[in-house]
């Protein structure tokens, strides 16, 4: 498979911010994607809102609720259209975070085809574990769309098979539980990454709970990149339609931190 995401990690640490589509509306989402790209995001992770985001914490759950509040029947094609608009201004690699039912309802083949057309190169699907990925993975592979697997501190002896089958990059969950800001990470992340590296050269990015530049730098030091969800979503929650400029600034800071060139290393 010809992964479009793996090369993103070549010779650099990646910063991967996340926002939820349609939070708070169509136009802001388009501008958010563009702003994240301008700020230096290496991959933009775009969340497809779902009514019941079981793997997400209160912050992202609230974003999903906001996104669907006035638009409970938001069609998937509207979300694709946000990417169509963003693509007029940026070529930044995009990955979707979506629950499997959304993909299933659209049709696996049609969904992957549309992703490929819009240069959406990865799918993070928290409720599609290794054991179930075969119903989607071969189709996604035909379209060169990576299924990004998650590896968690509880993965244990599953790591070899998950990492062994991974393409694109691996999403390493920093701590137990759901997404959200944290001050403590599972203390053996280094060991977790080592286990992954023993199996594959597919890059590993750490996510779940990262919010400060210091944390991002620490994670980028251990792994190949840092994924930041709730912190970005909080910015959208606070600034609404004014979020794009804030997200751009935040991304600059975070990208600098993961690249090891933070202007203000801990004083």
């Amino acid at each position: 498979m010809n992964s479009q995401l793996k090369p993103v990690f070549t010779n650099q640490k990646a910063f991967i911010p996340f926002v939820t589509a349609n939070d708070p509306n169509f136009d802001t989402t388009v501008q958010n994607i563009v702003a994240l790209a301008e700020g230096g995001a290496d991959i933009v992770e775009l969340g497809v809102p779902f009514s019941d985001p079981v793997a997400d914490g209160p912050v992202i759950q609230a974003a999903d609720l906001r996104a669907l509040k006035d638009d409970p029947d938001l069609p998937m094609d509207r979300v694709f259209d946000m990417v169509v608009e963003a693509r007029k201004q940026t070529a930044v690699p995009i990955a979707f975070l979506t629950y499997v039912n959304i993909v299933f309802q659209y049709g696996y083949d049609a969904f992957c085809q549309r992703c490929a057309e819009l240069d959406i190169r990865g799918l993070v699907i928290p409720d599609l574990p290794f054991e179930e990925r075969d119903e989607l993975a071969p189709i996604a592979e035909r379209y060169n769309v990576d299924i990004i697997p998650l590896i968690t501190p509880t993965s244990g002896d599953r790591i070899a098979k998950i990492a062994g089958a991974a393409t694109g990059f691996i999403y390493v969950v920093s701590s137990l539980g759901v997404t959200g800001e944290r001050s403590q990470f599972n203390n053996d992340l280094t060991g977790l990454i080592a286990q992954i590296r023993a199996v594959t050269d597919v890059p590993a990015a750490i996510g779940f709970g990262i919010h400060t530049p210091e944390q991002a730098a620490e994670m980028a030091n251990i792994a190949d990149g840092a994924i930041v969800g709730s912190a970005c979503v909080n910015i959208v929650a606070e600034y609404g339609t004014q979020a794009p400029a804030k997200l751009r600034d935040y991304t600059r800071q975070m990208k600098a931190a993961v690249s090891g060139v933070a202007k203000n290393p801990a004083v």
Partner: protein, 404 residues
């Protein structure tokens, strides 16, 4: 009473046709795998089986009666009606069969904390009960709407030593309680066992719950044989997630002459949006760990559902039911609020039984179908629970003011 046969239609793959599976976050996969392996081991373990048997008999008050409903039969003038009286179990519903099995498994797995979701509160009460019995910590997640509708059950759980968390996310009902329980579990897999209340969710839950609830049909089959020497022509049970129904069906699935009917909650009507009739109105999807049938919109968002019965307003159904529906082995029929309330009053007046509003969905279908059947035919209808919990809300529905 003979020991429960846990090896009926064994299924280690977790698939029922195309339905079932394990669509669950990675954080929980090892734990589910442990659970599936532990269950496969203990279901063949003589000590486990004896303990289970003793608990079902000595604690849950099994076997439950198979009661010939003479007055109902005469009044309806068709098929002979037998009621499988799960309402007479300890804690007043079929839920105890399942919690005894799962809690015993949890204990053998070395877990010390039980968590559960609950809709009507019945499963929460059953879980709190068995947690008290085993001296385990217990936390129950319950939608805020439901804690308001079922205050008495909330207090009952607290009385039994459980902590009840009102869930304020989403539409604040059963599905949101499941989301919250799953989320709690992801943060504490080490000491915690998630005790699922219905034959839903990822493998091995649909299998385990079916097996533990299959005591219903194992008994009813033997009891009916004793009383009439026959197989039933039809088995009817209400369907929320589908645990009492799959338990009522399990021992008859391989008897093609036995018609299996699940009564779903149609709420204000199958054709309205205020419904929970998953099989009739829903479509295939993937949610809460399983591929099954769900009430959802075109994008795949899970719809809010409605029923007068808190125990039936779940937007999905267990995967084995989806399979039984797809293959035509079982039929699923919608019963409205009005019909269920009428059945609640009917069975109280004709048989002197105050049955759960959930169960009355099955009774309402029996009222409809029995008169169309021959007098030598037999219906076994499961009364999944007793209706004390519903008396106040039925009075309210009827516009009767009661001073509590």
């Amino acid at each position: 009473m003979t020991e429960l046969n846990l090896a009926l239609n064994p299924n280690t793959t977790g698939r029922y046709g195309e339905y079932g599976g394990q669509y669950i976050p990675e954080t929980l996969m090892n734990e589910l795998d442990n659970m599936a392996k532990a269950y496969e081991h203990f279901k063949n373990d003589p000590t486990f089986k004896t303990e289970l048997h003793d608990l079902l008999v000595d604690y849950a008050n099994r076997p439950s009666l198979l009661y010939y409903a003479k007055r109902m039969t005469e009044d309806l003038g068709g098929a002979q009606i037998y009621l499988k009286r799960e309402d007479l179990n300890h804690t007043g519903a079929h839920k105890i069969n399942n919690v005894i099995g799962q809690a015993l498994l949890a204990k053998h797995m070395g877990k010390t904390r039980l968590i559960a979701e609950t809709g009507a509160g019945q499963h929460g009460v059953a879980t709190a009960t068995i947690a008290a019995y085993f001296g385990m910590e217990c936390e129950v997640f319950m939608g805020k709407e439901d804690t308001d509708r079922q205050k008495l059950n909330v207090y009952r759980m607290e009385l039994l030593g459980a902590k009840v968390h009102p869930v304020t996310s989403g539409s604040m009902v059963l599905k949101d309680a499941i989301n919250a329980a799953l989320q709690d579990w992801t943060t504490r897999v080490d000491d915690t066992f998630y005790l699922m209340g219905s034959a839903t969710g990822p493998h091995p839950y649909p299998l385990m719950v079916r097996d533990f609830q299959s005591i219903i049909s194992q008994e009813s089959k033997a009891q009916l044989q004793d009383q009439t020497g026959q197989l039933p022509d039809m088995v009817v049970a209400c369907v929320g997630g589908g645990s009492n129904a799959i338990g009522s069906f399990a021992n008859y699935i391989d008897d093609p002459s036995v018609q299996l009917v699940g009564a779903e909650a149609a709420g204000k009507g199958v054709d309205t949006n205020l419904t929970a009739a998953t099989v009739e109105r829903g479509s295939d999807g993937i949610f809460h760990g399983m591929k099954s049938m769900f009430l959802q919109n075109e994008t795949g968002q899970i719809n809010p559902v409605y029923s007068i019965s808190a125990g039936l307003d779940y937007p999905g159904v267990g995967p084995e039911h989806a399979h039984l529906a797809a293959t035509g082995r079982a039929q699923y029929v919608g019963v409205t609020d009005d019909e269920a309330v009428a059945a609640f009053e009917y069975i109280a007046k004709t048989e002197g039984i105050v049955a759960a509003i959930e169960s009355c969905h099955a009774v309402a279908y029996v009222q409809k179908i029995a008169p169309t059947m021959r007098k030598d035919q037999i219906i076994v209808c499961t009364l999944s629970g007793r209706g004390d919990k519903d008396v106040a809300s039925i009075a309210k529905y009827k516009g009767v003011a009661i001073d509590e």
